[in-house]
């Protein structure tokens, strides 16, 4: 490396995989550090274990996805099947460590504005086109094209400026400002590397029906709203090191079908119509968990836990003691048991515990303690002077306006909280609104409480929901302008020094909880189930997306 270069290659370590497939446990990179590893070379790669090849399965999806173009769509469902169709530039394992993907290695400039990716030269798209630097440029430029109107990928690109082709297999991605979350973005299916020829040929409107990636499976058939068929890519030989084997996938064919009605999902799994099923209702999951013919995978979804934002700009929740009382007075374990079948752990902070940079220090901060809640409320001057069961102060009743969306068990959680708070003498007035109307109400500062949950594998998500610049028109629903918090969040977006970054987000999470800006409810756990004959199923870091590459059928 040129020592005058502004680029600093942190270090390179070469990984030799020597153990058998399945037990191969390659030494992972420490989360987030820019240690770079060589991809396993085909010679050293272990060949697939015998007797696992062949067979087909049906995978049950939930929502009917209409936009399945990874660059434009925003649903989590699209990633469930597209994760097997595309490879990312870099992979993340279940713990969040980075591994080489289509990029053999990468480096980040000292100022955090230039990412250089050294690409594999042996990768072909499903349509036979070669993967190279031009392909990367075509994909990234497509995502930010305003004409494309991306609903998600473009926001993961941050302050993207341009991609420069250095040589046939080297690209530099430039940002207008330092942008640390990019490596995580590059690991996600939304930044999938698609065949430039297919993109060109079908254009923004029709690419979604004619997709071509580099992944272990290729889309053979797509019938909108009905099913998607994937078939094995026989040329696949660039699996990430943490997979159980190398070479082509085991299964010949995977059919994805939609089961939008929750009541029909378990019967489909039990009758053998589907071998893997997503989002099984908690109560049914309990039953299946005790049935040896099936396996339930409670999968953590990292990102924002389900949390209720407390508005700090309106009385009475502008008072810290009042906000703390709202956390102490909320029996989260009871809510989790009653509504989520006990499968989800109680949340303690703004990030779920499987999110990279989660700060476990928030865990001891608030327990369920109604007595303490009452005392705090009394200290803040709220007592029931007129004996009507509702606290009051200066002739005003303690009323909390609560805005709930109709999805994600929000109405149920709201109702449970209503009951818990009534015991404290708090009147929680909840209205369930259509999603756009709920967002509008929060923007108009018409709320004391509003819930939200959002998956993400980078803590930068906290900026969207807590930074003061997002108070007026964004989603900072706690409306808490705090110079310290803003600064940590800004620095967190810009710094690639992982230790520093970790420190910044530790502070941010702690401040959010000290100031009681949210009532954390539960970590999101998605319940997937499969037939016990299906082996090797694992879910990636994001929790939604299965790695079907290693899956095989045992007869």
């Amino acid at each position: 490396m040129n020592r005058h270069s502004v680029l600093a290659l942190v270090s390179i370590s070469i990984l030799f995989v020597s153990s058998l497939a399945g037990c191969a446990k390659p030494e992972p990179q420490v989360a987030g550090t820019t240690v770079v590893k060589e991809q396993v070379s085909p010679e050293t790669a272990v060949t697939a274990a015998a007797g696992r090849q062949g067979g087909e399965i049906t995978y049950g999806l939930t929502l009917i996805v209409s936009d399945i173009d990874p660059h434009t769509g925003s649903s989590s469902e699209l990633g469930i099947f597209l994760t097997s169709v595309y490879d990312p530039l870099v992979w993340r394992d279940q713990e969040g460590n980075y591994y080489p993907g289509l990029a053999k290695s990468w480096e980040i400039s000292e100022d955090g504005r230039v990412y250089t990716f050294y690409l594999r030269d042996d990768v072909k798209f499903h349509d036979g086109e070669p993967f190279n630097a031009e392909a990367v440029k075509a994909n990234l430029d497509r995502i930010v094209d305003p004409e494309l109107q991306s609903h998600k990928a473009v926001y993961m690109m941050g302050p993207y400026d341009r991609t420069e082709i250095v040589d046939a297999y080297t690209v530099q991605v430039h940002f207008e400002e330092p942008y640390a979350p990019f490596l995580d973005s590059a690991s996600q299916v939304y930044l999938a590397m698609a065949s430039p020829k297919a993109l060109e040929e079908w254009g923004a409107e029709h690419y979604r029906e004619h997709q071509a990636g580099t992944g272990p499976f290729a889309i053979q058939e797509y019938v909108p709203k009905d099913h998607i068929v994937l078939v094995k890519n026989p040329d696949y030989n660039w699996a990430p090191a943490f997979m159980g084997h190398q070479g082509p996938a085991y299964l010949d064919k995977i059919t994805f079908r939609f089961y939008p009605d929750a009541a029909t999902r378990v019967p489909a799994l039990e009758s053998g119509e589907a071998q893997i099923m997503g989002e099984i209702p908690p109560l049914e999951a309990k039953r299946l968990a005790s049935d040896s013919r099936f396996v339930i995978y409670p999968t953590h979804i990292p990102g924002q836990s389900l949390q209720v934002f407390i508005n700090t700009s309106r009385a009475p929740t502008n008072n810290l003691q009042v906000r703390q009382a709202l956390i102490y007075g909320c029996d989260r374990q009871a809510i989790v048991n009653g509504i989520f079948g006990g499968f989800s752990p109680v949340a303690h902070g703004p990030l779920g515990r499987k999110t990279p940079f989660y700060n476990p220090a928030v865990e001891g901060m608030y327990s369920y303690d109604p007595e303490k809640a009452r005392n705090l409320l009394a200290e803040a001057g709220w007592t029931d002077t007129n004996g009507d069961g509702v606290l009051d102060k200066d002739g005003q009743d303690f009323v909390l306006d609560t805005v709930l969306m109709g999805w994600g068990a929000m109405p149920e959680v709201g109702t449970a909280m209503q009951g818990l708070y009534r015991q404290l003498g708090i009147k929680m007035e909840a209205q369930i609104l259509a999603y756009p109307a709920a967002l509008e109400a929060a923007r108009n500062n018409a709320h004391h409480l509003i819930p939200m949950a959002l998956s993400s594998s980078d803590p930068d998500i906290l900026s969207s929901y807590f930074h003061s610049r997002n108070i007026e028109s964004g989603f900072s629903w706690s409306r808490y302008p705090d110079a310290g918090l803003d600064q940590w969040l800004d620095k967190g977006t810009r710094t690639n020094d992982m230790e520093k970054r970790s420190e910044l987000y530790d502070q941010a999470q702690q401040r959010i909880m000290e100031q009681a800006l949210i009532v954390p409810i539960r970590d999101y756990v998605n319940l997937n189930g499969d037939n016990a004959k299906v082996k090797g199923l694992r879910y990636g870091l994001q929790g939604w997306f299965p790695w079907l590459y290693d899956v095989y059928l045992k007869d």
């Binding site: 259509a434 109307a437 028109s473």
Partner: protein, 312 residues
Amino acid sequence: MLRYIQRRLLLMFPLLWGVATLVFFFMYMLPGDPASVILANSGGKAESIARLQEQLGLDDPLPVQYMRFLQNLLQGDLGESIFLRQPVSQILWDNVPSSVELAVGGMAIAILIGLSTGILAALNHHSWIDRACMVLAIAGVSMPNFWLALLFMYAISGLSTRYGVTILPITGQGDLKHLILPAVVLGFALSGSLARLVRSSMLETMYQEHIVTARAKGLGQWAIVTRHALRNALIPVTTMMGLQFGALLGGTVIVETVFSRRGLGRTIVDAILWKDLPLVQGAVLWTAASYILVNLVVDISYAVIDPRIRYG
């Protein structure tokens, strides 16, 4: 007659324009902003909201948005759904056949049950048959769709789990078999009011002089009912059927949802909840146009049923 039809068809355009305009402004007044919804789901930041609103053309002044909407409409372009990312015409094309199929099936069942029980009741006025028919009609009117649907579903799945016989598929769509249950549920509900109307207008005509004359001529009961009574009684019944059919063409949310069918009803409700303006527009325009056409057919059929009615 032809000129009448022409005039009615021409009238359709101002009517549709009125409907489109009303919907446009109503939707505008609904709280919420699609750009925020998209960004809330993607973890977007405040600065992105303005950019996305601009891309979606939502930041333009209302008159500009309205004129653009009208301009596209005149060119036959219904636009693209904000959330489904598909041309609205494509979404309608995907859902309309399913709604039409259900509307035709449901209407057929409603006419079958409604006409026969109505006539039977009228002919056996004040007897137990009359009362039985009217109880059935009340049941049809007052029993909620979803409840009847669930009863059928439980019965059929009970049969299949206990005796291993599957008579009909419970959910989904495809061939005629899938249509039977939803059509019966829908048809039964509509048949109630239809039966009551048929009965009362039959009773009215049965006591009119021309029926007495027919009887005096020595005509048989069957001939009297089909040729003389029913024809007269059909005018109000046709009006009602037209209205019902028009409503069905706009989709039936509950039946579509319970039976997991595609259809316009669910499409419109979702579109309104998510404030997907172009999709609501397109779906409402389709519904309005089909209403207008069905009513035209009803008006023309008056002339066929009763030759005294003429349109000049």
